[in-house]
């Protein structure tokens, strides 16, 4: 018996074409609702400048007089509304629809960049703690424990009051708030990975620790990181909105959903509900879509659920 006949089919196409095909097949499995919501929000946020929208930061002028429209206008389908401003205007006569769409930029930038940065820092620290062990583990995990004990929002307000308001400051704040969740989760995953035979095999071969972490550990924790990423995006967006609502987030007049809700909280009592309800719906839709997608990813990528 020298050669056993092989039944393995040779791969079709280049590795890139294969990866692309797999990626497409994967995307097609994703649930429709969150994908549609996310795709439309992304589209609107990216191409907002090309859409026929009013300037979100300037009062809408009256067509006849050329002066700013006085007071707030209700949505178009209500008495006194006009289709020029389909979702109405706020007390500074700014177009709500335009502000909601431009506001998506702030939420997406802060949510994506903040969680990405937190994910990168947390993953590196988690891998170091989990794989290097000993004092690396002790030092990193004690800091992480302490960090996790901080009340998130209070800590964010504290940072905001030091760093001042601003879009990129919120990104930094979110990074500082969220890295510890990644570190903890990744470390736990690495602890079980380092006992697997393929890591032992690499050690016996004499591969360096850096090589083992990059080539063997990292690709295998990416699933966990991806899931955590999609699940924290929603929380990050909520925290951004909360900070803006409290006045320590994005400074006015930049359109941000949290800021718009804060603007609308007075008029809300007077019956002008549209100022804060529409950005509220936007937040809800975006966070809901992110969470639904994260939930699906968690089940889809969980090695334990998948291998069964």
């Amino acid at each position: 018996m020298a050669n056993v006949p092989q039944t393995v089919a040779s791969p079709v196409g280049s590795p890139i074409a294969q990866t692309a095909r797999k990626g497409w097949a994967f995307a097609r499995e994703a649930p429709l609702l969150p994908m549609v919501i996310l795709a439309s929000i992304l589209f609107l946020a990216i191409f907002a400048d090309l859409l026929p929208l009013h300037d979100p930061e300037v009062s809408v002028k009256d067509k006849l007089t050329g002066r700013p429209v006085a007071g707030t206008l209700p949505p178009a389908w209500m008495d006194g509304g006009t289709w020029r401003m389909p979702l109405g205007t706020d007390f500074q006569s700014r177009d709500i629809l335009s502000r909601v769409i431009y506001g998506a930029r702030v939420s997406l930038i802060v949510g994506l960049v903040g969680t990405l940065a937190a994910g990168a820092i947390g993953t590196v620290l988690g891998m170091l703690a989990g794989y290097m062990g000993k004092w690396w583990d002790q030092v990193i995990m004690r800091i992480t424990d302490a960090w996790l004990a901080l009340p998130t929002l209070i800590f964010a307000i504290f940072l905001a009051s030091i760093r001042g308001a601003g879009l990129w400051n919120i990104v930094i704040i979110l990074t500082l708030v969220f890295w510890s969740r990644y570190a903890r989760q990744v470390r736990a995953e690495v602890l079980s990975l380092r006992e697997r035979d393929f890591v032992k095999l690499a050690e016996v071969t004499g591969a360096s620790r850096v090589r083992i972490m990059l080539k063997h550990i990292l690709p295998n924790v990416m699933n966990t990181v991806m899931v955590l990423f999609s699940l924290t995006i929603g929380v990050a967006i909520i925290i951004e909105a909360s900070l803006s609502f409290l006045g320590v987030g994005v400074p006015p007049p930049t359109p941000a959903w949290g800021l718009m809700m804060a603007d609308g909280k007075g008029p809300l009592i007077g019956g002008d509900w549209w100022i804060s309800v529409f950005p509220g719906i936007a937040i809800m839709l975006l966070v809901l879509a992110a969470n639904l997608l994260g939930d699906w990813l968690r089940v889809r990528l969980d090695p334990q659920l998948r291998n069964r």
Partner: protein
Amino acid sequence: MASETLLEARDLTKHFPVSSGFVFGRVQGWVKAVDGISFSVAKGETLGVVGESGCGKTTTAKLILAQEAATSGQIEFRGQDVTSLQKHDLMDYRKSVQVVFQDPFSSLSPRMRVSDIIAEPLEVHTNLSKQDVKHRVGEVLELVGLQPDVAPLFPHEFSGGQRQRIAIARALATEAQLIVLDEPVSALDVSIRAHILSLLERLQRDLGVSYLFIGHDLAAVAHISHRIAVMYLGKIVEVADSLKLCNDPKHPYTRALFAASLPSHPDEEKEELVLSGEVPSALTPPSGCRFHTRCPFVMPQCSESEPVLKEVEPDHWAACFLH
């Protein structure tokens, strides 16, 4: 058979501390996983190591692979002491000694392509160009009976037997002289085992590698090994030529092992020798001969003094007072 010694272990010992308490635990005792064993592997030879779970087989493998530091004793590889090697010289040893693990589903990273898995030892130990590495990967894939064009695939696209072939191909990539086979066929279907075993034999014939074959399946170990060492509770109780050991086992434990293995034919006459009780704890091994608590031929002296491994017949060593 070539008689040039490749690897020699002398009085190899590994004790693991057992500590209690949370932070500043005191050492309560020592698990004597491997307790003073000596053996040698010649060039082109297969030494089988058998014994039940917990007898120290796997710890022995870890010591040979320099994954664990020995408590005492020496391992000599081509006349050089391995236990005292520093990081730099250790790399040369790691290039020459490779391992194949039991479970081919755990030993191949699910996220790496076959070509990357096999190329890793080459990337770590050599400065070959990408083209040369690719060439070598194709070469070793052919050596283990796989098509070179499976290189870009991922491990999950293969069966258990094929995965084990990939693991063997990886071990061969840097032209290792000694391959530690840690139960390489235990996780495979019976029909695949024979294929893998004859592949290993063919590779040994063609390339002259030595094997340290660790297993609990006597039939598989006896089939492939030139010599067999039987371990019990961290000690080697019998070493002999494979044929001699199978036809005329001397130590009662070896006899019990053979009696317990499945006969190759239902009508085959076998010695009735069933051991009672469990393997004693390696934390507090029995006094004297470690096997005396379960031995059917126990004598008063067995619990008092420990029998040493002595040559009872030419090239047949056993540690028992019966001989």
